[in-house]
Symmetry: D3
Subunit: 340 residues, 6 copies
Amino acid sequence: MAKFITFGELMLRLAPKGYLRFLQESEFQATFGGGEANVAVSLANYGLDAAFVSKLPVHNIGQAAVNSLRYFGVDTSMIIRGGNRVGIYYLEKGASQRPSKVIYDRSESSIADAVSSDFNWDIIFKDAEWFHFTGITPALGPNVAQICFEAVLAAKKAGLTVSCDLNYRKNLWTSEKAEQTMSQLMEYVDVCIANEEDAEKVFGIKAENTDVTSGKLNYDGYKEVAHKLTNKFKLKYVAITLRTSISANDNKWSAMLYDGVNYHFSKSYDIHIVDRVGGGDSFGAGIIYGLSQKMSASESIEFAVAASCLKQTIEGDFNYVSVQEVKNLMNGNRTGRVQR
Amino acid sequence: MAKFITFGELMLRLAPKGYLRFLQESEFQATFGGGEANVAVSLANYGLDAAFVSKLPVHNIGQAAVNSLRYFGVDTSMIIRGGNRVGIYYLEKGASQRPSKVIYDRSESSIADAVSSDFNWDIIFKDAEWFHFTGITPALGPNVAQICFEAVLAAKKAGLTVSCDLNYRKNLWTSEKAEQTMSQLMEYVDVCIANEEDAEKVFGIKAENTDVTSGKLNYDGYKEVAHKLTNKFKLKYVAITLRTSISANDNKWSAMLYDGVNYHFSKSYDIHIVDRVGGGDSFGAGIIYGLSQKMSASESIEFAVAASCLKQTIEGDFNYVSVQEVKNLMNGNRTGRVQR
Amino acid sequence: MAKFITFGELMLRLAPKGYLRFLQESEFQATFGGGEANVAVSLANYGLDAAFVSKLPVHNIGQAAVNSLRYFGVDTSMIIRGGNRVGIYYLEKGASQRPSKVIYDRSESSIADAVSSDFNWDIIFKDAEWFHFTGITPALGPNVAQICFEAVLAAKKAGLTVSCDLNYRKNLWTSEKAEQTMSQLMEYVDVCIANEEDAEKVFGIKAENTDVTSGKLNYDGYKEVAHKLTNKFKLKYVAITLRTSISANDNKWSAMLYDGVNYHFSKSYDIHIVDRVGGGDSFGAGIIYGLSQKMSASESIEFAVAASCLKQTIEGDFNYVSVQEVKNLMNGNRTGRVQR
Amino acid sequence: MAKFITFGELMLRLAPKGYLRFLQESEFQATFGGGEANVAVSLANYGLDAAFVSKLPVHNIGQAAVNSLRYFGVDTSMIIRGGNRVGIYYLEKGASQRPSKVIYDRSESSIADAVSSDFNWDIIFKDAEWFHFTGITPALGPNVAQICFEAVLAAKKAGLTVSCDLNYRKNLWTSEKAEQTMSQLMEYVDVCIANEEDAEKVFGIKAENTDVTSGKLNYDGYKEVAHKLTNKFKLKYVAITLRTSISANDNKWSAMLYDGVNYHFSKSYDIHIVDRVGGGDSFGAGIIYGLSQKMSASESIEFAVAASCLKQTIEGDFNYVSVQEVKNLMNGNRTGRVQR
Amino acid sequence: MAKFITFGELMLRLAPKGYLRFLQESEFQATFGGGEANVAVSLANYGLDAAFVSKLPVHNIGQAAVNSLRYFGVDTSMIIRGGNRVGIYYLEKGASQRPSKVIYDRSESSIADAVSSDFNWDIIFKDAEWFHFTGITPALGPNVAQICFEAVLAAKKAGLTVSCDLNYRKNLWTSEKAEQTMSQLMEYVDVCIANEEDAEKVFGIKAENTDVTSGKLNYDGYKEVAHKLTNKFKLKYVAITLRTSISANDNKWSAMLYDGVNYHFSKSYDIHIVDRVGGGDSFGAGIIYGLSQKMSASESIEFAVAASCLKQTIEGDFNYVSVQEVKNLMNGNRTGRVQR
Amino acid sequence: MAKFITFGELMLRLAPKGYLRFLQESEFQATFGGGEANVAVSLANYGLDAAFVSKLPVHNIGQAAVNSLRYFGVDTSMIIRGGNRVGIYYLEKGASQRPSKVIYDRSESSIADAVSSDFNWDIIFKDAEWFHFTGITPALGPNVAQICFEAVLAAKKAGLTVSCDLNYRKNLWTSEKAEQTMSQLMEYVDVCIANEEDAEKVFGIKAENTDVTSGKLNYDGYKEVAHKLTNKFKLKYVAITLRTSISANDNKWSAMLYDGVNYHFSKSYDIHIVDRVGGGDSFGAGIIYGLSQKMSASESIEFAVAASCLKQTIEGDFNYVSVQEVKNLMNGNRTGRVQR
């Protein structure tokens, strides 16, 4: 059985090539992705024993989804096969002042229609040490929220560390609904991961004097957010990504890790973006790697930010990087010179 | 307002390139298609004033579907915009002994969720002369079957000719359910189009001594099928396609038109197939063109078979051919010599 | 009949993929474009009733050109079919210090060979409110210049607003020839659209102390240019785009609208360019949209600049954007954050 | 200077991928081809010292045309650079009963606008032994016909063998015009190459009882055609290809060589066609190779037919085969087993 | 540990698209393949627990090779990582009379440079039931032949069934060298798989009166071959594929299984080929599946032939089919009708 | 015989499309490149008579390599055909903070296995005026180093100017080995070309206080490097490129030419990189062009830097630019405005 378990939805991602708009394309790049699956792929790429738990249809599109994870050595043996469809998201890549656009077509997917009896968490968590999920999964429906609840309960019982990426999605639920559900789940969470907007959208905890769409960040505000989250939910760690969007092509990227005592801010990267989708997930995987491998808090946040910086230079949801590549970057080799 | 009205679902068709299997592809050819929309495109290509009626989402994938028809000059002004999703079908092209494979992902599409009040048939049929639908559309759900019923009622009231392609789909409904619904609708139909299996699957009317999977056809049997259908539903015409599948690449293709008196068999074509999906729809459009343009029964069936022979040499659901091209073929130029 | 009429040439655009040079490519991206057709597409995308008038061959390449406009709902019913060829332009996309390159192969195209009797402007302009053309069209030959003259005459007679984008093309005619012809046509124009070089090249009216190749613009100079143009031709509006080319990838982009009283300068955008061809046309369409929809002068220029900023983030000549997308940008959402 | 000189037009060939129709494609495969250039490429591939003479524009598209020949080692140093355009032909590949379609856009090309003074044939033919042209070249216009006349005159004076492929093109000239011009040129020709229709279309010499569109050939008739051609023009050799078109995908292919005494019929090949364009040119090149390399008449015709059989299994105008590959096929290895 | 172990080389396969020749392509389809790896993929697709043993470099190309197998769930944990290169084969697909062409570039690959101490066969074979290799592997060099020898010795000791596909490759070794090495290895083999040429090339055992390049097979001759092989090496089963090559596109395909008593001939398939490479490997995997899953001899040979028929309709070395798909075909559904 | 001779290896370059990583791609862009071949292509593009000398296999991949040079008019008649393989390098393009990655697979290539007797330098250098090689070539093995030694000896004897680009490759040899071999060869060199690291890596001559990975350059240090090199080897010219890597996408680029008296620094370019591989080679070709065409030292360095700036905006190893395009840039037109 695997050590690192993630649970959520794996979707088919359909994207026009390059910067083409939806109305221009007669061909879709077809890959797979989803918050928790992306984390599992990162962890497998780092050499950890990672499994992804979900439900996917028996048919060939479902099989293609499963195989996309097996490619990286992710353990897919605990994915339940059944239900009717693989959820889809259509992605149009933005450029300059034109934002990227996501159209979700994920309702009635196999995992969204799953029931509690599909998963036996005691077996799943046998020998495991870490459980990770995101705020997207309970948002798929009350049945899935209930499964999440059963999962975190079992995880704590089995002594696992539990991490959750808040990942608020306004088209899946309202802030009110999110707060209600997530508040319950957070009772069992040790490590909370969030971006610069999530805490406000889900719990109304916000960094004062910061307008994320304006390109300015108030660093003190994020200390306060982390502090309040920690107090509210007895968290061990809060990790927050700090993105400053210059344009669809250029972003500044850094993060902060609060360990209950100190606030560790990472270096900041000026990223010329190839694909920012999955950036947050690769950050979460970096935090999980750092903390589970006993890096210090400050090493952990540098590892996570460097890893997610690299992700944003790579097409697709998955982060095709090794531990060595992340360490090369976090240790200062940022100029992109050719490696022969 | 348009003269020729078709009603049904327009789906996104996602197909791996060439003969690649679903598990081999990281790119999908994205086109649009669907029984009645395919007919509308054919009619527009023949210079007729054709409209397609349906319901499609407001978002960009819905818009791409609409535009795919506007490209041919199909009138899309009566497509209702709303609902949540564009239905999808995944298509894997077979070769030799390996069959083509279709995976449907069409539940909860905008048209499947449509309601009666979405369509005002009296306005839609103003100035129109022909209404066409297929057996797929009522199979989308009782609500859509009800809309179909309202449509044929209004069509007859407005004096239109009504044609229906039986098009039985076993994954949408059972034979029992199909018979029950279709029997009611057929009361209002003038022209019935079917392939070599439909009449049996929907109405239990079958050509004796014929096994469509064996590659042998019993021509007398099909006369009997047409005769029985006509008697049962007071039809003016019954058109049946006769496909003999040698392999996924090679099919024999001919058809029969029964006008209540005579059985008109067409020439037979040995088709080296490029894409057989939409073959039946292009045949239906050929029948509608022939009969509406006052061709004789025997010219009509030759036109329809030649048109659908050409369709099967063309990628995608739509039949990109002109009246002149169909006539060239039906008049004997079958050897495919280069036209400079 | 349509409300907004544009007249000109629609060309086949053949472009190597990405940044490949002509000598590297064995495949051309084949799209269609041309100054006035690009404007018609923009207006149709904004929900206006737009028609494109031209002449195109009967053959399939001509048909593909027509269909490329029908896709957007542009009215193509007034395009005359005949003549021998679709004009072509080959486009190689530049990068960094390497400029984009255009090779024209448009002589003897159907529209270049058109004659006056091909077009009945009284019928074309029935119920219309706006006529738009560019300086490229009369440059195609004296016959086409004559047709333009007949068009503007008829347009004024029918009470339309007439707009003209100067669009000087040195490989089609000389400055002398341009001035002679354009001076006559401008007598009938209400709205003159130009880029930072056109007025000088066509009418010898120039912004002092500005070298457009140096990357520096003299804003006061452009006020003077607009003022002189207005005086010379009794124009209602002069709109001038102001491009500062940092490199083939990065441009600053803003514009000015002079309403005869005030000079309205827009915000400036730092564009990371995807495809700058058609930028001027999308600007012209923005001006036409703003003025015809009764936006204020300052709103109009902001709309036009935001629209053309977005165009430059999109491949091809056409501007695939909606009114809402333009308004989102002009109202300040410039950071390109993902829209889910 | 080269030993084998060919003279004619090299065109840009724009073809949708696979079996897509013109209206389906947003990408053209861009290669180059033309009767005489195709022959030059074949001869260079056979290791002969071949040159192509023509006129092409200075710009990059002209350069790409030149380089496409240099790739094979064809001597392009005698191509005149100037004029305005590279001629184009659009090619849509047929399938089964749907014929391939060619749209020419070659008027006003550089070679069509060439003048006699562009070419100094005495210098071009220095050290040469063979001159080849086709009936397409004089059909480009009276100026080019005149250049052809000067070329054959100089060729005979310099003691070269002259070969001509009749290659009648009905969209370039009428049969009357063709006969008038070609009759004059044929006086200087030693080797006449033709397909099963050319002799009739150009000289009214026809094989009785043969309908090339019916798929039946009258072999005796072709003997008569060759005999009449030889008598009329004092030819040394007449080579005629015999194509039986089963469908756009499947053709039978053989040929006959008449040496003034005997009629040598080749083996016949059942070709599953990849691309038949250039089939005749590769046949002509095979004849030239065989006769110039002192093969017997019967070896020559087998070589030519095998070479052109292989061409039709290869995409594009050019025949990418070696002498060894042709000999392998003509010596009986026809079953296409893998060569490891 | 896995039940089914295969051992050999996994190569990078570089192939131009479609029917393009090597000299036409600027893009290679990059997949992976190799005799024994292809068998492992088939077995994994049939739901068996299969492992592939080999040596591959640490770098990313080596990793891509490993991942290509993990995608199917093949156990890659016993692949040794080290050495310098991934072997390559270039593949050009033939058409009609033009044969496919393979250029090997596999010397100095990691597996070709492997040493005995790289593999601990006792551990590898723990819990296993079947070991499979081909005649290609010992041909890679004496060191690899030695490893093979150690493997079969250990396999027999551990009680595994051993199968070997003779697979003679003339560019790797001579018939003399092959006979010498293979004779030793065959002592430990239970199931011998061969094509219609191998037995002759390796052991000089040949079917009289058969010329495989002529398209005629002598069935009695193959009985004799199987009988002689069995006698010589105490084999339990001999399976021979019988290919009749009509052209590069069309082959007849059947096979025979000799169980020491009876000769079981399969049905014959007329295959319209998509990609015949890997056809023999998919046949071998079919035999292993059939025999290991306790099918009868005659069911086993039908399963193997149907499986390999399907493979030849699929691009690439790997056979992307399920047990159900193979059974559908072997049970008679050969006409390739669409499966919806 | 050609005037400009270059000698080295031409490799097959296999690169995933765009910014895809090795593990993401199932298709490789296949082009050819190599230090000295890249120089030959540049010189041919500038209109000079350039030849490339090497050894390449007889098979089709070898032929494709040869033809890739013939395309530009490079003289390939002195390339020896033989040996077993075309060397390969795999290239993954970096982005932002992710560096480009090169995996070499070039051992045992035809040129690496060449012997002295393969090349007759006296014949090769007949009528030549310049010989160029790089430090990569002698690093291929002692046999190739010996051939280089024979070449420079013959070159000097024949009165040619000899240029060498140091081009240190740490995966081919050590600094010690490099110094030993290169010191001998440099005795015959007139023009030494190097990048900002080479002199240190090969000869231990370094610019003090400069850390090339830090993005800061010490210009005085490079004067010293050039001076020391000149003194050590009696060089006529030393040309050093100065790259400041901001990220994988953005580099500053300039250079210095030392003529033994003065240090000529070029303008600096801010390059938004398309493909930096081959940048140094295009610089070397620029220096050779400038000096051989009697430009002044300062013009030569400006030409070389402008040429190599343009190269980095072009995909592939080869520099597809003309003398005119380079001069346009060096004379100040740097803003990348469209050229119509």
